[in-house]
Symmetry: C2
Subunit: 361 residues, 2 copies
């Protein structure tokens, strides 16, 4: 026996066949007499035997490995905060179930190359993180028969893909409802990345609720962003140049809200006194930065966790019918949105944005 001990070594030492050793080590001891089982277990332990997972995968025709695939557009983990939370959720579900994770960050957008990389026999299924419109990831059907779950993008039905996402539509709707309830009628909006479905959903929900309340939408207050804080800042610059201003601006995510607010600061425009700002996502970093942002909180960790759960369910049952799961968000009211009328009556030049603890920025 040179190198690592194999099943044959264990069998030899226990004085039995490879079959017997294999069965017992897989927990099928009840097939054998007590002493046989013990002999094998002891032999394995004495040799420090560990089953070779590659050989096992080949024989079993399954690898107990799941790929987590980032969109080529967002292949840098550093800049993809969303992916961290989702990954943690995925890991939390898979690790105890002895599944492994293969992290794939394609550097190209050629679908054939991307899928050759993903589906090369080494994984049982894949979780696609926030595929954008036109992403090569979405062409999987042409290249793969693997079970796949997409997260972070609520795709049109024709993609025939299992999905887990937050309920962008409902969450944004409740945000708009709430803002209106606070007395706001002049409402601006900063849109998200045009290639993200979530951006369109959030905008659509905004427009719908506005229409339901008979509030006209001023297109000059609808600003294009891309989910990055810089575009939030430039949206602020662009908006604040106008003669007439909205009383509140809803940003399609927190990043842009942060950018927006920081630009307001630079221009010495107090938030929420002069203008209210709301975000979406309840990012850890907005809180960390001491910005008491009114926003929508949702559980990205949970998204990852559920995606992993669905994927494993599909693997185990073979039921590959696309499933869709929407997780509700929750409105988090902090201080970046003020009552529309009250503020007009009682302006307070000293109040700026407050942290949750109440300290001044």
């Amino acid at each position: 026996m040179r190198g690592k001990p194999t099943l044959r070594d264990v069998a030899e030492r226990a004085g039995c066949s490879i079959t017997t050793a294999s069965n017992i080590l897989q927990g099928r001891s009840h097939l054998y007499r007590e002493d046989m089982a013990q002999r094998v277990l002891n032999a394995a332990h004495e040799l420090g035997y560990r089953a070779n997972s590659v050989a096992r995968s080949l024989a079993r025709r399954r690898t107990a490995t799941i790929a987590v695939v980032l969109d080529p557009q967002h292949a840098r983990l550093t800049h993809n905060v969303y992916a961290h939370d989702v990954l943690d959720g995925v890991l939390a579900y898979l690790e105890p179930r002895d599944y492994d994770i293969r992290l794939i960050t394609p550097r190209t957008n050629d679908p054939a190359a991307v899928w050759r990389r993903i589906d090369n026999g080494s994984i049982d299924g894949a979780i696609l993180i926030a595929p954008v419109m036109g992403s090569s990831l979405l062409e999987w059907r042409h290249y793969s028969t693997l079970p796949v779950v997409a997260v972070g993008s609520t795709l049109p039905d024709e993609y025939l893909l299992s999905q887990v996402d937050i309920d962008n539509d409902a969450a944004m709707a409740s945000m708009v409802e709430w803002v209106i309830q606070q007395g706001h009628r002049a409402i601006g909006f900063v849109k998200g990345h045009p290639l993200h479905w979530s951006a369109h959903q959030r905008e659509r929900a905004f427009r719908r609720v506005m229409a339901q309340h008979g509030i006209p939408i001023r297109e000059e207050w609808m600003l294009q962003g891309d989910y990055g804080s810089e575009t939030g800042a430039s949206a602020a610059a662009q908006l604040l140049r106008q003669d007439e201003l909205p009383s509140v601006v809803l940003c399609a995510n927190d990043e842009m809200a942060i950018g927006f607010i920081q630009k307001c600061r630079d221009l010495e425009i107090p938030v929420p006194d002069a203008i209210s700002v709301a975000g979406f996502d309840d990012s850890y970093w907005a809180r960390r930065m001491g910005i008491a942002l009114t926003t929508v909180q949702h559980d990205r960790y949970q998204v990852g966790y559920l995606a992993a759960q669905i994927l494993l369910h599909q693997l185990e049952t073979g039921d590959a019918r696309p499933q869709r799961m929407l997780i509700p968000g929750a409105l988090v009211v902090r201080r970046s949105v003020a009552l529309a009328n009250v503020l007009a009556a009682v302006p307070d030049p000293h109040a700026t944005i407050l942290t949750e603890g109440g300290s001044r920025l």
Copy 2:
């Protein structure tokens, strides 16, 4: 041919042996006549053949997969900003070289279980991310013969482990030198996590340079932290309670510096007017938060990139001698540290901390 096409299918279609097909598809066309090679290549293309990587791994006895292992103490990716940058660097190096990444986040500290998980034949080598003192990861020699590189922890030599890390010692030394040069003599220090080697190195460098300059260290100004911003804040609280204060406090990382500064704000103690604060790491988030923190910048991405490079080199050459690589950091002077004497002369009650762009916090 049912299911995916195999090498046998390709060979059959091309009318040659499996050997021939295998060789040609691996790029050894020169062994064969031109037309044979073409036939095989065409057959493979027509069938949409993709080599099964599990079978290949078994036959080749190498998997072209590297494990990236987080310390069980820091298994949540969300809370491990360091890991993101390193991972990006690792991915950037490995992806073009057709290596895959297995992400492992052990949930237990039992070394046998951890290593059974890591070294089960499915990887060729491992990169350990910032193993802490006493980590089960460091006991690898008892459980594995895999090539391993540790990053983010400059370990004592006896671990016999290849390492890539930033040069904590030199970087902290230059920070201390600079601060002294700015006229400071009353210098406090907030220590990092007691289980991290980096924390000890940074502290040791601090003490050494202080001694070199003949400046006595006041132990009541040496505060224990754990690299988290909360401990930075409590260090501030603890320090500011004292009668005599240092003119500058060096924090062992940016997180703690941020916490420290935020506590100062809460207590309405102007930084750097009343007290200067420096950090270490040049975290993206300090910049984002508009804190113009004087700190040490270093390239975590590069750390990951080099670690991957070293690991692959070891795999390819078989040269497993532990290598050590230190990456220098660079002092980044911003505004959170003021000249010690100038400030005493010209106090400016209105100046608080400034962002790089010059805007007020």
